[in-house]
Symmetry: C2
């Protein structure tokens, strides 16, 4: 077994993980190990960190690379989240937790940390990317703090900013920014979450008084799950069907005062507390309903639609559909930030589990005296290292995503196509990273055994809080379906002018034509069309172009196949067309997921290409291979069924993954150290070095006993499981 285990990771300052990590290494550089030859698989010699010729990771430079484009903002945010005043206290009651988080929002407001996206003339910085980067980092302090801040400034405030006009900005943004006006983003209803266009709340214009009248027509139209609604919100941005002169112009947003100075609901407004949730209990989610509530005409946030005094509706966007999606599109930042925050939670989980796994010992399989470090077990590596590779992929993809977001919101690249690409990107990445976070937090929790179940080690609390990330700001399955529809649209546009014969040929000759493109993140390089050859070696799989081809080919072929099946839909009655679409829904969503994975692989590959330090680059290349080939392994049946891979090469995928994992094992602790979290962020007892101290004490005890000759003799050679 390779013993790189005795590194204590306690008290790493966030900004110098490399140096600190090196200083606290207790054991000498690990020694060379050649694993026994496994019949049938040429695993080759394993290169061990510190061994002559083996690569080493430059933790400090990798740390900067992982921090990404807004590294400085993130480092300042981490100083903030290292402050106990902003951190979660485990075990508080819901009421105490809510009170604490409300107070923390005032700290953030005073600090200005949350004002970066607001206009300069109101004290902001017009810095959209930096704002999200700083916001995401709050997850290390308390996800409730992060999400409640997101409700106040990212949803409520951003809706005023993006859907309102100057009069609304001047009137409302200052109070929002300072937290003088805590507010509610009142969009979702009990009956409608994913299908926002179908919400039931109405805002009917009354020209006699020049007011909108807000009504909740039935129970399913109660606003629901709204942060700040149960207790703190004194105003809301309310989404309702705008009706004027007998015409429903669809969903629009309105400024609506909710509570008076005593905290009581204003006349016509009622509500309920959503009560205890699976997590995020520092946020007061609740329900609202309205009965003839009148608000002035000017309260309509009128950037994309307005009503004149006489009730005439006007809009700069003539298509109601396009108008609706434009309005919703301004709120994409929620998905952007969840992608980043979820990825940070995955990184924290792996830092905790890999640190612990590199210190914890159990069972003495190959020795009479020394127990094995659990991260040296193949299964343990298989559980954690592929998830580490995925977390790296998500980190790099997120930074590119954030750059794209910043370009659109800064106006630097703000065409309709850019906005659509951004939304598709959000819809592809947010599901993958939020599911990955839940999966990783759970695997990390189990990998830490009973200790992982204790609140003091953070994993269970983070998982509980992040659970809802999978369904809020867009249900993950619904989002992936949106991605799939976009892929189908792009695909059909490509063949719009061609006859069905062209399409058929395309479907048959998948490996050739490579003209179809997904969202902007991806640019296709090389084409390799020689799959199925049994003569290819394991080494071939390391080829970047081969991995790209395998991943790209699958997405394109899946979309082409589904498009072929849906070709007749246009000629069918609506009901039958819907049924035909539905019969392919599962495959569509799987195709969208593979598309997102490809985007992440591309981002990871670009990150590897820009890495300068040679040792770091080598290790990152292995990690990228692990991610890419892990995807291939997951979908291996598809490659076999579609003749893209021979049985022989398919077997070599798993063999090569085993080999990369063994190579990466000595670098595992460096790779999580490079995330740069200090114990102030992790606050996990088992990742504090305490386990290493316990192991050292126990081993010293037995060593001393053996040396002194006072150890009791075993009845026989001891039997162990």
């Amino acid at each position: 077994m390779v013993d790189t285990a005795q590194r204590s990771n306690s008290k790493k300052p966030a900004r110098t993980p490399g140096r600190t990590s090196a200083k606290t290494t207790k054991t000498p550089a690990p020694t060379a190990v050649t694993p026994p030859v496994v019949p049938g698989v040429d695993t080759g010699p394993v290169m061990i960190a510190g061994q002559s010729g083996a690569p080493t990771v430059n933790i400090e430079s990798l740390h900067r690379q992982l921090l990404g484009t807004w590294a400085d903002v993130r480092l300042r945010a981490r100083e903030l989240t290292a402050q106990p005043a902003l951190q979660r206290i485990e075990g508080q009651s819901m009421a105490e937790h809510r009170e604490r988080v409300l107070g923390q929002l005032h700290i953030l407001a005073e600090n200005g940390h949350v004002h970066r996206a607001f206009p300069k003339d109101l004290g902001g910085e017009d810095d959209h990317g930096g704002n999200i980067a700083g916001f995401e980092e709050l997850v290390t302090a308390d996800p409730s703090l992060q999400i409640k801040a997101g409700v106040q400034w990212g949803l409520f405030g951003a809706a005023v900013l993006h859907l309102g006009t100057k009069k609304h900005h001047d009137a409302y943004l200052p109070g929002i920014m300072t937290m003088q006006v805590p507010g509610v983003f009142a969009m979702t209803e009990t009956g409608h979450g994913s299908d926002v266009a179908a919400i039931g709340t109405t805002a009917t214009y009354d020209p006699a008084t020049q007011e909108f009248v807000i009504d909740t027509p039935f129970r399913a139209a109660w606003k629901d799950y709204l942060g700040n609604a149960a207790k703190d919100g004194i105003a809301a941005v309310l989404f309702a069907q705008l009706i004027t002169a007998g015409v429903n112009h669809g969903v629009h947003a309105f400024w609506l005062p909710l509570r008076d100075e005593s905290g009581a609901f204003l006349p016509g407004i009622g509500g309920e507390d959503d009560g205890l949730k699976g997590g995020l209990n520092g946020i007061d989610n609740g329900r609202l309903h309205f009965d003839g509530v009148r608000i002035p005409r000017e309260n309509l946030l009128n950037r994309y639609g307005d009503v004149s005094e006489d009730g005439t509706y006007s809009s700069p966007i003539s298509s109601p559909g396009r108008r609706f999606f434009t309005m919703l599109g301004t709120l994409v930042q929620g998905r952007v930030s969840l992608d980043g925050a979820a990825t940070q939670a995955s990184a924290m989980a792996l830092t905790i589990a890999i640190t612990y796994g590199s210190q914890r010992r159990q069972f003495n399989a190959g020795s009479d005296t020394d127990e094995e470090v659990i991260l040296d077990y193949q299964r343990h590596q298989r559980r954690l290292l592929p998830r580490l590779a995925t977390t790296y992929a998500h980190t790099f993809a997120h930074d590119e995503f954030l750059v794209k977001f910043d370009q659109v919101f800064s106006g630097q690249a703000d065409t309709d196509a850019d906005r659509q690409d951004l939304e598709t990107l959000a819809a592809a990445l947010k599901p993958l990273s939020t599911w990955h976070a839940l999966d990783t937090l759970q695997e990390a929790r189990e990998a830490c055994g009973g200790a992982g179940f204790l609140a003091e080690n953070r994993l269970v609390g983070l998982r509980a809080d992040l659970d809802v990330f999978a369904t809020f700001e867009g249900d993950n399955n619904v989002l992936l379906q949106l991605v799939a529809k976009r892929l189908l649209t792009d695909y059909s546009r490509k063949f719009a002018s061609a006859g069905p014969g062209v399409l058929a040929r395309y479907v048959v000759q998948q490996a050739a034509g490579r003209a179809y493109h997904g969202t902007g993140l991806r640019t296709l390089g090389q084409s390799v069309a020689d799959f199925g050859s049994t003569a290819r070696s394991v080494g071939h799989l390391r080829d970047t172009a081969v991995q790209r081809e395998l991943l790209t080919d699958r997405v394109e072929t899946m979309i082409a196949e589904i498009a072929g099946k849906l070709r007749s839909a246009g000629k069918l009655p609506a009901k039958d067309a819907a049924a035909l679409f539905n019969a392919n829904q599962n495959q569509l969503i799987e195709a969208a997921r593979s598309h997102g994975e490809l985007l992440q692989w591309e981002a990871f590959t670009r990150a590897v290409e820009t890495t300068e330090d040679a040792g770091t680059k080598q290790v990152l290349t292995w990690l990228r291979d692990l991610f890419g080939l892990g995807l291939v392994e997951k979908h291996l049946a598809w490659y076999l069924v579609h003749g893209r891979m021979s049985a022989q090469r398919a077997q070599s995928v798993t063999a090569y993954i085993d080999r990369i994992i063994a190579r990466l094992r000595p670098h595992a602790v460096d790779l999580v150290d490079a995330f740069g979290y200090s114990q102030d962020h992790l606050r996990s007892a088992i990742a504090s070095g305490a386990e290493q101290e316990r192991q050292n004490e126990a081993r010293d005890y037995y060593a001393t006993q053996r040396a002194s000759g006072t150890a009791p003799r075993a009845e026989k050679a001891p039997a162990r499981k």
Copy 2:
């Protein structure tokens, strides 16, 4: 879309789900629907429940079948768990919850529900299977209640019963049964969970005073994660290395008083509260440590090992290894009961999510007015119905497992081989069912959207509580490794007398020899050796013998392959042999998992065979096919790589699964109703019929508006996502 959605499942009495369910059906029998033809796949006509010629499920008889061998015990237990006094109150503080659960244990003690396994002469019933059946049902009331009861009677009490002798039974069991003596099962230490044989706590015999002296030599040897240790336990069964006359005889159990009447620790004993956990916070888990604590010689629970007054050790089992495993083996019931409780939690989760999914509507894909019932979406079906099939498989497998347990513990079939089979069965099934429960609870939570995240709908609380099931009573990965070792042993025994040539031929000719057997649950029927034929139709996959062959072949081939790779291990130094084993660990664990899945498939198949009602039998056969072919689909790459299936047949697996799912959709609500939980057990607002009421109200509102002509006109044809 098939509309069977409007069934309200509110207030079904547990004992008559069939009748009640029929009574509350609001819509007429669903109508026939022929789905559009999907190019390339012959989906065939879908038979709809209620349609002439389509099967119907007899819910009442299926309910009895699912309740299994101890149906009456379970029904009595469900009357008990329907009582609010035994139920969880969501949102209680840890202190309040602990206090409540402690009180509930006194209710159980008075009721006698938890005494079935104890000897008749002490007021028990010597009924081991019934005891576990009744115990498992407690999970519907509160998992904390269940597990704390398990600590008191299933671990603490059972250790006295099985490891002690008559003097201990007479002295301690009455107090344990009545809860006069709440106790701790003090086995696990901070440093040793899975490897119990290596615990550090010592019990050194002092012949001068005829006492054992209990010591904790270092911090890692603190007892940890122990239920009842933080607050309530006044005695413990302590596991420690028994040392007498300079010899360590390995782990033995001792009766140890912990606290005095005031609740203070006795001299030499200290401890800590484990504090807040990810769930099960009604249990006071804690740590204990000992410094020279003296207990009389008679406190050794001496069934399997004793120390005479002069310090001479004796045991009826001469091998220390066998003695250790015999002692631990008496405690297998923890794993048995977790398998059952986890399966019940899966059943509850699916009852909630499928009930809600059959009432909830979102998006009007194929209609201008009616939104789709979400369970009619293919993706939603794909998320829930395969998990329903798995839950059925686990339910049937668990009942067979419980019968085996009862046979062993009643002495009816209690050979060494029986006990080993039972333990292998426990190690195979407990991991699968506990992981499945977590997966199912999470998918159900997400399938219910934001509503699923509210505590009032139960899913998040159950998931939080069951999280630790994956690592306690044996870490799932460690248990599966035990199964794999057993499979390897069985395999090598088979070839012990044969030369290596025989072994090699066996590995090559996988499809022929079928002599190897796993645990007792499985008996092999028919042999089919014609894989790879491209001429086979989809229908072939429905053949029970084909499914059995596919699943069996995979387990046997995997084990044979690994055995081949490990053949040289015997000749290697221990360290290298361990490394070779480790290089195959992941595959070994995967083989063990497949073995467990095969056992579950066999149990499901036997259950189908004994089903008498023809319609129920047909639907159960589809459900079994879904389970079996779902396993084949999951491992499809393996079948392709190993030449067991052609690419063409591999594709038909997924096509056939899609077809079965569409067939099962109309029966989904019946299949969860057959679990027989009433709202008193589910206590989930969204499964109470409230969603159906909301949907009806909203649809009535719009229908009335349309009919009256007062509906606002849409600006254009409304655009929906």
